[in-house]
Protein backbone atom coordinates (compact mmCIF):
# COMPACT_ATOMS: atom_id res chain seq x y z
CA UNK A 1 0.00 0.00 0.00
CA UNK A 2 1.40 3.39 -0.94
CA UNK A 3 1.39 6.09 1.73
CA UNK A 4 -1.52 8.48 1.85
CA UNK A 5 -0.64 12.12 2.31
CA UNK A 6 -4.15 13.49 2.26
CA UNK A 7 -7.58 12.01 2.74
CA UNK A 8 -10.80 13.96 2.43
CA UNK A 9 -13.92 12.24 3.71
CA UNK A 10 -17.53 13.28 3.26
CA UNK A 11 -16.69 16.95 2.97
CA UNK A 12 -19.65 19.28 2.50
CA UNK A 13 -19.60 23.00 2.04
CA UNK A 14 -22.27 25.57 1.30
CA UNK A 15 -22.48 29.33 1.04
CA UNK A 16 -25.59 30.01 3.10
CA UNK A 17 -28.15 27.61 1.68
CA UNK A 18 -26.38 27.14 -1.62
CA UNK A 19 -24.36 23.92 -1.57
CA UNK A 20 -21.00 24.23 -3.35
CA UNK A 21 -19.30 20.98 -2.41
CA UNK A 22 -21.26 17.82 -1.87
CA UNK A 23 -19.92 14.70 -0.16
CA UNK A 24 -16.36 15.01 -1.42
CA UNK A 25 -14.17 11.96 -0.88
CA UNK A 26 -10.64 11.78 -2.17
CA UNK A 27 -7.24 10.39 -1.42
CA UNK A 28 -3.88 11.69 -2.47
CA UNK A 29 -0.90 9.36 -2.36
CA UNK A 30 2.58 10.60 -1.64
CA UNK A 31 4.56 11.57 -4.75
CA UNK A 32 1.46 11.47 -6.95
CA UNK A 33 -0.19 14.10 -9.08
CA UNK A 34 -3.93 14.57 -8.82
CA UNK A 35 -5.65 16.72 -11.42
CA UNK A 36 -9.01 18.31 -10.71
CA UNK A 37 -11.03 18.90 -13.85
CA UNK A 38 -14.49 20.24 -14.40
CA UNK A 39 -16.47 23.11 -15.87
CA UNK A 40 -16.28 26.62 -14.39
CA UNK A 41 -18.23 26.93 -11.19
CA UNK A 42 -18.06 23.22 -10.43
CA UNK A 43 -16.25 23.89 -7.15
CA UNK A 44 -12.66 23.04 -8.09
CA UNK A 45 -11.18 26.19 -6.63
CA UNK A 46 -13.34 26.03 -3.55
CA UNK A 47 -12.23 22.48 -2.91
CA UNK A 48 -8.55 23.26 -3.30
CA UNK A 49 -8.97 26.28 -0.99
CA UNK A 50 -10.56 24.09 1.67
CA UNK A 51 -7.39 22.02 1.73
CA UNK A 52 -5.25 24.80 3.18
CA UNK A 53 -7.90 26.54 5.21
CA UNK A 54 -8.62 29.52 3.01
CA UNK A 55 -12.22 28.29 3.06
CA UNK A 56 -14.02 26.58 5.90
CA UNK A 57 -16.41 23.68 5.37
CA UNK A 58 -19.55 22.54 7.20
CA UNK A 59 -19.10 18.82 7.65
CA UNK A 60 -16.73 15.98 6.91
CA UNK A 61 -13.02 15.88 7.63
CA UNK A 62 -9.61 16.28 6.14
CA UNK A 63 -6.66 14.15 7.21
CA UNK A 64 -3.33 15.61 6.26
CA UNK A 65 -0.08 14.08 7.46
CA UNK A 66 -0.90 13.24 11.09
CA UNK A 67 -3.46 15.98 11.55
CA UNK A 68 -7.24 15.58 11.50
CA UNK A 69 -9.07 18.70 10.43
CA UNK A 70 -12.74 19.17 11.22
CA UNK A 71 -15.07 22.08 10.41
CA UNK A 72 -14.17 25.28 12.26
CA UNK A 73 -10.51 24.23 12.58
CA UNK A 74 -8.41 27.23 13.56
CA UNK A 75 -4.79 26.10 13.75
CA UNK A 76 -3.99 26.19 10.04
CA UNK A 77 -0.91 28.34 10.39
CA UNK A 78 1.59 25.53 11.22
CA UNK A 79 0.00 23.21 8.63
CA UNK A 80 0.30 25.76 5.86
CA UNK A 81 4.07 25.53 6.07
CA UNK A 82 3.72 22.01 4.68
CA UNK A 83 1.29 22.99 1.92
CA UNK A 84 2.45 25.30 -0.84
CA UNK A 85 -0.17 27.08 -2.90
CA UNK A 86 -0.01 29.00 -6.16
CA UNK A 87 -2.99 31.06 -7.26
CA UNK A 88 -4.46 32.05 -10.58
CA UNK A 89 -3.90 35.77 -10.18
CA UNK A 90 -0.38 36.98 -9.69
CA UNK A 91 0.06 37.14 -5.98
CA UNK A 92 3.66 38.20 -5.37
CA UNK A 93 4.06 40.97 -2.80
CA UNK A 94 4.60 44.08 -4.97
CA UNK A 95 6.56 45.92 -2.28
CA UNK A 96 9.25 43.24 -1.98
CA UNK A 97 11.90 42.09 -4.40
CA UNK A 98 11.76 38.59 -5.86
CA UNK A 99 14.27 37.28 -3.32
CA UNK A 100 12.46 38.99 -0.42
CA UNK A 101 9.21 37.47 -1.61
CA UNK A 102 10.77 34.03 -1.55
CA UNK A 103 12.59 34.46 1.76
CA UNK A 104 9.66 35.86 3.76
CA UNK A 105 8.33 32.40 4.66
CA UNK A 106 11.64 30.63 5.34
CA UNK A 107 13.02 33.48 7.46
CA UNK A 108 9.98 34.77 9.33
CA UNK A 109 7.77 31.70 9.53
CA UNK A 110 10.35 28.94 9.75
CA UNK A 111 13.07 31.08 11.34
CA UNK A 112 15.71 29.46 9.19
CA UNK A 113 19.28 30.61 8.81
CA UNK A 114 19.48 33.47 6.32
CA UNK A 115 22.52 32.14 4.53
CA UNK A 116 21.08 28.67 4.08
CA UNK A 117 17.65 29.97 3.01
CA UNK A 118 19.18 32.37 0.50
CA UNK A 119 21.27 29.60 -0.99
CA UNK A 120 18.21 27.39 -1.36
CA UNK A 121 16.21 30.27 -2.88
CA UNK A 122 18.94 30.96 -5.43
CA UNK A 123 19.10 27.28 -6.30
CA UNK A 124 15.33 27.18 -6.87
CA UNK A 125 15.50 30.36 -8.95
CA UNK A 126 18.16 28.76 -11.08
CA UNK A 127 15.92 25.75 -11.65
CA UNK A 128 13.19 27.98 -13.05
CA UNK A 129 15.73 29.99 -15.08
CA UNK A 130 15.18 33.19 -13.14
CA UNK A 131 18.37 33.46 -11.10
CA UNK A 132 19.15 36.84 -12.69
CA UNK A 133 15.91 38.29 -11.36
CA UNK A 134 16.53 37.88 -7.62
CA UNK A 135 16.71 41.59 -6.91
CA UNK A 136 14.01 42.74 -9.27
CA UNK A 137 10.53 43.91 -8.20
CA UNK A 138 7.49 41.92 -9.36
CA UNK A 139 6.23 44.79 -11.54
CA UNK A 140 9.28 44.32 -13.76
CA UNK A 141 8.37 40.69 -14.51
CA UNK A 142 6.07 39.13 -17.10
CA UNK A 143 3.08 37.09 -15.97
CA UNK A 144 4.84 33.82 -16.66
CA UNK A 145 7.89 34.88 -14.70
CA UNK A 146 5.70 35.94 -11.79
CA UNK A 147 4.01 32.57 -11.68
CA UNK A 148 7.34 30.74 -11.73
CA UNK A 149 8.50 32.94 -8.84
CA UNK A 150 5.24 32.23 -7.01
CA UNK A 151 5.99 28.51 -7.37
CA UNK A 152 9.49 29.06 -6.02
CA UNK A 153 8.11 31.07 -3.11
CA UNK A 154 5.87 28.16 -2.19
CA UNK A 155 8.68 25.60 -2.65
CA UNK A 156 11.05 27.60 -0.45
CA UNK A 157 9.12 26.36 2.60
CA UNK A 158 10.02 22.78 1.62
CA UNK A 159 6.36 21.71 1.53
CA UNK A 160 5.11 18.12 1.40
CA UNK A 161 2.22 19.06 -0.82
CA UNK A 162 1.63 21.64 -3.55
CA UNK A 163 -1.71 23.10 -4.61
CA UNK A 164 -2.00 24.76 -8.02
CA UNK A 165 -5.19 26.70 -8.68
CA UNK A 166 -5.42 27.39 -12.42
CA UNK A 167 -1.99 28.93 -12.38
CA UNK A 168 -1.80 29.43 -16.13
CA UNK A 169 -5.36 30.68 -16.65
CA UNK A 170 -4.47 34.38 -16.76
CA UNK A 171 -1.26 34.00 -18.74
CA UNK A 172 -0.60 34.91 -22.34
CA UNK A 173 -0.45 31.68 -24.36
CA UNK A 174 3.29 31.91 -24.98
CA UNK A 175 3.93 32.20 -21.24
CA UNK A 176 1.98 29.07 -20.36
CA UNK A 177 4.56 26.56 -21.46
CA UNK A 178 7.34 27.75 -19.17
CA UNK A 179 5.11 27.46 -16.13
CA UNK A 180 3.80 24.02 -17.07
CA UNK A 181 7.35 22.81 -17.61
CA UNK A 182 8.25 23.82 -14.08
CA UNK A 183 5.28 21.85 -12.81
CA UNK A 184 6.23 18.79 -14.84
CA UNK A 185 9.75 19.03 -13.50
CA UNK A 186 8.31 19.09 -9.96
CA UNK A 187 6.25 16.01 -10.69
CA UNK A 188 9.40 14.22 -11.86
CA UNK A 189 11.02 15.21 -8.58
CA UNK A 190 8.21 13.30 -6.84
CA UNK A 191 6.45 16.28 -5.36
CA UNK A 192 2.90 15.48 -4.28
CA UNK A 193 0.64 17.81 -6.18
CA UNK A 194 -2.99 18.69 -6.62
CA UNK A 195 -3.61 20.65 -9.77
CA UNK A 196 -6.64 22.51 -11.06
CA UNK A 197 -6.15 23.22 -14.74
CA UNK A 198 -7.85 23.67 -18.08
CA UNK A 199 -4.75 22.61 -20.04
CA UNK A 200 -5.90 19.20 -21.19
CA UNK A 201 -2.70 18.01 -22.86
CA UNK A 202 -0.77 18.93 -19.79
CA UNK A 203 -3.31 17.24 -17.53
CA UNK A 204 -3.07 14.05 -19.52
CA UNK A 205 0.70 14.10 -19.32
CA UNK A 206 1.01 14.81 -15.63
CA UNK A 207 -1.98 13.16 -13.96
CA UNK A 208 -1.70 9.96 -11.93
CA UNK A 209 -5.28 10.48 -10.84
CA UNK A 210 -8.06 12.59 -12.33
CA UNK A 211 -11.05 13.81 -10.37
CA UNK A 212 -13.86 15.21 -12.46
CA UNK A 213 -16.09 17.67 -10.64
CA UNK A 214 -19.53 18.75 -11.66
CA UNK A 215 -21.84 20.96 -9.59
CA UNK A 216 -19.84 20.37 -6.43
CA UNK A 217 -19.67 16.59 -6.74
CA UNK A 218 -16.90 14.30 -7.83
CA UNK A 219 -18.70 12.47 -10.62
CA UNK A 220 -15.72 10.54 -11.86
CA UNK A 221 -12.43 9.46 -10.33
CA UNK A 222 -10.03 7.48 -12.43
CA UNK A 223 -6.39 7.05 -13.23
CA UNK A 224 -4.91 9.65 -15.54
CA UNK A 225 -4.83 7.51 -18.65
CA UNK A 226 -8.26 5.95 -18.18
CA UNK A 227 -9.97 9.28 -17.82
CA UNK A 228 -8.71 10.65 -21.07
CA UNK A 229 -9.04 7.51 -23.16
CA UNK A 230 -12.10 5.80 -21.65
CA UNK A 231 -14.15 8.26 -19.61
CA UNK A 232 -16.82 6.39 -17.69
CA UNK A 233 -19.51 9.02 -17.40
CA UNK A 234 -21.31 10.74 -20.22
CA UNK A 235 -20.70 14.11 -18.60
CA UNK A 236 -16.95 13.61 -18.59
CA UNK A 237 -17.10 12.55 -22.20
CA UNK A 238 -18.99 15.71 -23.14
CA UNK A 239 -16.49 17.78 -21.20
CA UNK A 240 -13.55 16.20 -23.00
CA UNK A 241 -15.24 16.66 -26.36
CA UNK A 242 -15.87 20.32 -25.64
CA UNK A 243 -12.18 20.74 -24.83
CA UNK A 244 -10.93 18.95 -27.93
CA UNK A 245 -10.17 21.18 -30.85
Amino acid sequence: MPDKLLTVSHLNKSYGKKPVLHDINLEVEKASVTVLLGPSGSGKSTLIRCLNGLEDFQSGQIDFMDQTIKPGFKKWQPIRQHIGMVFQSYDLFPNRTVLDNILLGPLKVQKRDKHEATEQAMQLLKEVQLADYANVYPRQLSGGQKQRIAIVRALALKPEFMLFDEVTASLDPEMVRGVLEVMLQLAHQKMTMLVVTHEMNFAQQIADQVLFLEAGKIVEASSGQTFFTQPKTERAQEFLNSMAF
Binding site: N52, R80, S89, P94, N95, L104, V109, P138
Partner: protein
Protein backbone atom coordinates in the same frame (compact mmCIF):
# COMPACT_ATOMS: atom_id res chain seq x y z
CA UNK B 1 -2.41 99.48 0.75
CA UNK B 2 0.61 100.81 2.59
CA UNK B 3 3.86 98.91 2.13
CA UNK B 4 5.31 100.41 5.29
CA UNK B 5 2.42 98.93 7.27
CA UNK B 6 3.04 95.58 5.58
CA UNK B 7 6.70 95.83 6.52
CA UNK B 8 5.90 96.77 10.11
CA UNK B 9 3.47 93.87 10.46
CA UNK B 10 5.87 91.21 9.21
CA UNK B 11 7.36 90.35 12.62
CA UNK B 12 4.02 89.78 14.31
CA UNK B 13 2.81 87.71 11.37
CA UNK B 14 6.11 85.85 11.49
CA UNK B 15 5.37 84.82 15.07
CA UNK B 16 1.86 83.79 14.10
CA UNK B 17 3.28 81.82 11.19
CA UNK B 18 5.56 79.75 13.41
CA UNK B 19 2.81 79.21 15.95
CA UNK B 20 0.42 77.98 13.23
CA UNK B 21 3.11 75.64 12.01
CA UNK B 22 3.88 74.34 15.50
CA UNK B 23 0.27 73.70 16.47
CA UNK B 24 -0.43 72.02 13.12
CA UNK B 25 2.63 69.83 13.51
CA UNK B 26 1.67 68.51 16.95
CA UNK B 27 -1.96 68.19 15.94
CA UNK B 28 -1.18 66.22 12.79
CA UNK B 29 1.31 63.92 14.48
CA UNK B 30 -1.17 63.22 17.28
CA UNK B 31 -4.06 62.75 14.87
CA UNK B 32 -2.02 60.32 12.76
CA UNK B 33 -1.11 58.18 15.76
CA UNK B 34 -4.70 58.19 17.01
CA UNK B 35 -6.03 57.46 13.53
CA UNK B 36 -3.60 54.61 12.92
CA UNK B 37 -4.53 53.10 16.26
CA UNK B 38 -8.25 53.38 15.57
CA UNK B 39 -7.92 51.93 12.06
CA UNK B 40 -5.89 49.00 13.41
CA UNK B 41 -8.46 48.28 16.07
CA UNK B 42 -11.16 48.22 13.44
CA UNK B 43 -9.20 46.29 10.81
CA UNK B 44 -8.35 43.49 13.21
CA UNK B 45 -11.82 43.67 14.76
CA UNK B 46 -10.54 43.82 18.32
CA UNK B 47 -13.44 43.20 20.68
CA UNK B 48 -14.63 46.11 22.93
CA UNK B 49 -11.94 48.45 21.61
CA UNK B 50 -13.64 48.26 18.24
CA UNK B 51 -16.83 49.67 19.79
CA UNK B 52 -14.98 52.46 21.51
CA UNK B 53 -13.12 53.38 18.32
CA UNK B 54 -16.39 53.40 16.39
CA UNK B 55 -18.04 55.71 18.91
CA UNK B 56 -15.07 58.04 18.95
CA UNK B 57 -15.00 58.26 15.16
CA UNK B 58 -18.70 59.10 14.93
CA UNK B 59 -18.44 61.72 17.66
CA UNK B 60 -15.35 63.30 16.18
CA UNK B 61 -16.55 63.38 12.59
CA UNK B 62 -20.04 64.60 13.29
CA UNK B 63 -19.26 67.60 15.46
CA UNK B 64 -17.65 70.83 14.25
CA UNK B 65 -14.15 71.67 15.45
CA UNK B 66 -15.54 74.96 16.73
CA UNK B 67 -17.80 73.17 19.19
CA UNK B 68 -15.07 70.68 20.12
CA UNK B 69 -12.79 73.60 21.00
CA UNK B 70 -15.50 75.29 23.07
CA UNK B 71 -15.94 72.08 24.99
CA UNK B 72 -12.24 71.56 25.64
CA UNK B 73 -11.46 75.16 26.48
CA UNK B 74 -14.63 76.39 28.21
CA UNK B 75 -16.45 73.30 29.48
CA UNK B 76 -13.57 71.11 30.65
CA UNK B 77 -12.53 73.56 33.41
CA UNK B 78 -16.00 72.99 34.91
CA UNK B 79 -15.03 69.37 35.52
CA UNK B 80 -11.61 70.33 36.79
CA UNK B 81 -9.56 70.01 33.60
CA UNK B 82 -7.99 73.37 32.94
CA UNK B 83 -5.86 73.59 29.83
CA UNK B 84 -4.07 76.48 28.16
CA UNK B 85 -5.50 77.77 24.91
CA UNK B 86 -2.70 76.26 22.86
CA UNK B 87 -2.98 72.85 24.51
CA UNK B 88 -6.74 72.95 23.97
CA UNK B 89 -6.14 73.79 20.33
CA UNK B 90 -3.75 70.88 19.81
CA UNK B 91 -6.07 68.46 21.60
CA UNK B 92 -8.99 69.70 19.54
CA UNK B 93 -7.06 69.17 16.33
CA UNK B 94 -6.03 65.68 17.39
CA UNK B 95 -9.59 64.81 18.37
CA UNK B 96 -10.96 66.01 15.04
CA UNK B 97 -8.08 64.78 12.88
CA UNK B 98 -7.94 61.33 14.47
CA UNK B 99 -11.17 60.23 12.85
CA UNK B 100 -10.21 61.62 9.45
CA UNK B 101 -6.84 59.90 9.67
CA UNK B 102 -8.56 56.69 10.79
CA UNK B 103 -10.77 56.80 7.70
CA UNK B 104 -7.70 57.36 5.50
CA UNK B 105 -5.77 54.46 7.03
CA UNK B 106 -8.82 52.19 7.00
CA UNK B 107 -9.30 52.91 3.31
CA UNK B 108 -5.70 51.94 2.68
CA UNK B 109 -5.81 48.75 4.73
CA UNK B 110 -9.04 47.63 3.10
CA UNK B 111 -7.58 48.48 -0.28
CA UNK B 112 -4.98 45.73 0.03
CA UNK B 113 -6.01 42.98 -2.35
CA UNK B 114 -7.61 39.92 -0.77
CA UNK B 115 -5.28 37.69 -2.76
CA UNK B 116 -2.32 39.37 -1.07
CA UNK B 117 -3.68 38.43 2.34
CA UNK B 118 -4.42 34.90 1.15
CA UNK B 119 -1.01 34.34 -0.35
CA UNK B 120 0.50 35.61 2.89
CA UNK B 121 -1.58 33.08 4.79
CA UNK B 122 -0.64 30.37 2.31
CA UNK B 123 3.06 30.75 3.15
CA UNK B 124 2.20 30.34 6.81
CA UNK B 125 2.45 33.91 8.09
CA UNK B 126 0.81 34.49 11.46
CA UNK B 127 -1.78 37.28 11.70
CA UNK B 128 0.78 39.61 13.20
CA UNK B 129 3.34 38.84 10.47
CA UNK B 130 0.65 39.27 7.86
CA UNK B 131 -0.10 42.74 9.21
CA UNK B 132 3.54 43.71 9.45
CA UNK B 133 4.92 42.39 6.17
CA UNK B 134 1.93 42.41 3.84
CA UNK B 135 -1.04 44.52 4.90
CA UNK B 136 0.68 47.50 6.52
CA UNK B 137 3.33 48.34 3.93
CA UNK B 138 0.83 48.12 1.09
CA UNK B 139 -2.04 49.69 3.03
CA UNK B 140 0.07 52.65 4.11
CA UNK B 141 1.12 53.46 0.57
CA UNK B 142 -2.50 53.24 -0.51
CA UNK B 143 -3.45 55.67 2.28
CA UNK B 144 -1.00 58.36 1.26
CA UNK B 145 -3.33 60.44 -0.97
CA UNK B 146 -6.05 60.56 1.69
CA UNK B 147 -3.50 61.32 4.43
CA UNK B 148 -2.09 64.14 2.32
CA UNK B 149 -5.55 65.66 1.91
CA UNK B 150 -6.06 65.42 5.68
CA UNK B 151 -2.75 67.12 6.45
CA UNK B 152 -3.75 70.14 4.38
CA UNK B 153 -7.27 70.11 5.78
CA UNK B 154 -6.00 70.07 9.37
CA UNK B 155 -3.57 72.93 8.80
CA UNK B 156 -6.40 75.04 7.44
CA UNK B 157 -8.59 74.09 10.39
CA UNK B 158 -6.13 75.86 12.74
CA UNK B 159 -7.77 79.11 11.60
CA UNK B 160 -10.66 78.21 13.89
CA UNK B 161 -8.28 78.48 16.87
CA UNK B 162 -9.00 82.17 16.69
CA UNK B 163 -12.18 81.59 18.73
CA UNK B 164 -10.12 80.62 21.76
CA UNK B 165 -7.75 83.54 21.16
CA UNK B 166 -4.66 81.63 20.06
CA UNK B 167 -2.50 84.16 18.19
CA UNK B 168 -2.10 82.05 15.06
CA UNK B 169 -2.30 83.54 11.56
CA UNK B 170 -6.04 84.15 11.27
CA UNK B 171 -6.35 85.46 14.81
CA UNK B 172 -3.44 87.83 14.25
CA UNK B 173 -4.90 89.15 11.03
CA UNK B 174 -8.31 89.75 12.63
CA UNK B 175 -6.57 91.44 15.56
CA UNK B 176 -4.59 93.78 13.31
CA UNK B 177 -7.71 94.67 11.40
CA UNK B 178 -9.72 95.22 14.56
CA UNK B 179 -7.11 97.33 16.31
CA UNK B 180 -5.62 99.36 13.47
CA UNK B 181 -7.97 98.93 10.51
CA UNK B 182 -5.01 97.59 8.50
CA UNK B 183 -7.41 95.44 6.53
CA UNK B 184 -5.68 95.10 3.15
CA UNK B 185 -2.21 94.72 4.57
CA UNK B 186 -3.28 92.13 7.12
CA UNK B 187 -5.27 90.04 4.67
CA UNK B 188 -2.35 90.10 2.24
CA UNK B 189 0.05 88.85 4.90
CA UNK B 190 -2.49 86.29 6.04
CA UNK B 191 -2.80 84.83 2.56
CA UNK B 192 0.98 84.86 2.09
CA UNK B 193 1.42 83.13 5.45
CA UNK B 194 -0.87 80.23 4.54
CA UNK B 195 0.53 80.03 1.02
CA UNK B 196 4.08 79.69 2.30
CA UNK B 197 3.02 76.73 4.40
CA UNK B 198 0.55 75.05 2.10
CA UNK B 199 1.90 75.37 -1.43
CA UNK B 200 5.31 73.75 -0.85
CA UNK B 201 3.65 71.17 1.36
CA UNK B 202 1.12 70.40 -1.32
CA UNK B 203 3.89 69.92 -3.88
CA UNK B 204 5.81 67.68 -1.48
CA UNK B 205 2.73 65.58 -0.79
CA UNK B 206 1.95 65.18 -4.48
CA UNK B 207 5.47 63.93 -5.03
CA UNK B 208 5.08 61.54 -2.13
CA UNK B 209 1.76 60.28 -3.51
CA UNK B 210 3.36 59.52 -6.84
CA UNK B 211 6.18 57.61 -5.17
CA UNK B 212 3.79 55.69 -2.96
CA UNK B 213 1.62 54.76 -5.90
CA UNK B 214 4.62 53.41 -7.74
CA UNK B 215 5.50 51.32 -4.72
CA UNK B 216 2.00 50.00 -4.20
CA UNK B 217 0.85 49.17 -7.69
CA UNK B 218 2.50 47.97 -10.83
CA UNK B 219 2.24 44.33 -9.82
Amino acid sequence: MSWSVVQQSIPIFGQAFWLTLKLSFYGIIGASILGLLASFIRYFEMPVLQRIAGMYIELSRNTPLLIQLFFIYYAFPEIGIKLSAQTSGIIGLIFLGGSYMAAAFTGGLNGVDKIQVESGKAIGLTNWQLARYVVLPQGLSLSVPAIAANVIFLIKETSIFTVIAIPELTNTALDQIGMYYHTDESLLLLVIGYAIILIPLSILLTWLERRARYGAFGN
